[in-house]
């Protein structure tokens, strides 16, 4: 196994064991895999980051239309 793959396997393998059936969370009637939950959290984070992080632009000069 390449070294970089070994590093990733060790890092993420410790967090999420992909060699067994998926883990699910149960909130009442809501049942969701941790994979889907992570994607949803990432989407929320990216959404707020897109609103809050300033966007660098090339401002128009006066009269430059």
């Amino acid at each position: 196994m390449p070294a970089i793959a070994l590093v990733f396997t060790t890092l993420f393998g410790a967090l999420i064991d992909l060699n067994k059936p998926g883990n699910y969370i149960h909130w009442g009637f809501i049942q969701m895999s941790y994979g889907n939950l992570i994607v949803i959290i990432l989407m929320v984070v990216v959404f707020f980051a897109a609103i809050l992080i300033p966007f660098k632009t090339h401002k128009s000069k006066e009269g430059d239309r």
């Binding site: 994607v39 990432l42 989407m43 897109a50 966007f55 632009t57 090339h58 128009s60 239309r65």
Partner: protein, 239 residues
């Protein structure tokens, strides 16, 4: 059709853009369609060099990210279709292209959802943009179907598991009689022909409508005069 006189003087390009070559041709259907198309979709609005100042935010980037990811999805899908399942399951290059196809779809759906949230919270259906919003919703639903039939077309145990689990859900809707998720031939055709055509056509329509109406303006701030759209201000930024 009128036969053009080769010795007749040629009209200016500007006239050609909006009208028939000759005044006597103006009632032909080709001239009518061309004139209507140029009036409805002027070329300078289709690919503008500048955008209103309020577009200078990362939240406006996700539509383009979605389209970029769609381009990668289609390109990698072409490669997968050329070489087939034996290649994408066994060879290292095939596995790589297969992964590119999967992850570009992940980015496509991810960016599309963030784009949807952004447009929802700015009520992007304002200003005669209802059709644009609805076309986006339809693209999202068709894309879910395209991704689903993609999972069914993997040609592995995962696709078998998904199809046998999904058939009960599909059958409970009554659609199983015509949409059989365990029929690989049918699912692959939906995945590589019907649904991609629908997605690309709808995305094209969606973008045309965005260009036609322009990007929706933000809500006015509380101390601004009602009815004045901040985006209508003169300030612009380069695209």
């Amino acid at each position: 059709m009128t036969i053009a006189d080769p010795k007749a003087p040629r009209p200016d390009q500007a006239d050609l853009d909006k009208a028939a070559d000759r005044p006597e041709d103006a009632d032909q259907w080709t001239a009518k369609i061309r004139t209507a198309a140029v009036e409805a979709l002027p070329p300078q609005r289709m690919l503008p060099d500048r955008q209103p100042a309020y577009v200078a935010s990362w939240i406006y980037v996700f539509g383009v990210v979605t389209i970029s990811a769609l381009c990668v999805v289609i390109a990698t899908g072409f490669v997968l279709a050329i070489f087939g399942p034996n290649w994408w399951h066994v060879s290292s290059t095939g596995l790589f292209v297969n992964s590119l196809h999967l992850w570009s779809v992940e980015i496509f759906m991810f960016a599309m959802v963030v784009h949807l949230w952004g447009k929802f919270f700015m009520a992007a259906w304002r200003g005669k943009r209802k059709a644009t919003w609805i076309s986006g919703v339809v693209v999202f639903l068709v894309s879910v179907g395209a991704a689903f039939t993609g999972y069914l077309s993997q040609q592995n145990f995962d696709s078998q598991w998904i199809s046998t689990q999904a058939k009960d859900g599909i059958n409970s809707t009554g659609a199983g009689a015509i949409f059989n998720v365990t029929n690989f031939g049918q699912m692959i055709m939906w995945h590589i022909v019907l649904l991609p055509l629908c997605v690309v056509a709808l995305v094209g329509l969606h973008v045309l409508m965005v260009r036609l109406r322009g990007v929706v303006t933000p809500f006015a701030a509380k101390n601004e005069t009602p009815g004045v759209e901040p985006g209508a201000a003169a300030s612009e930024v380069q695209a």
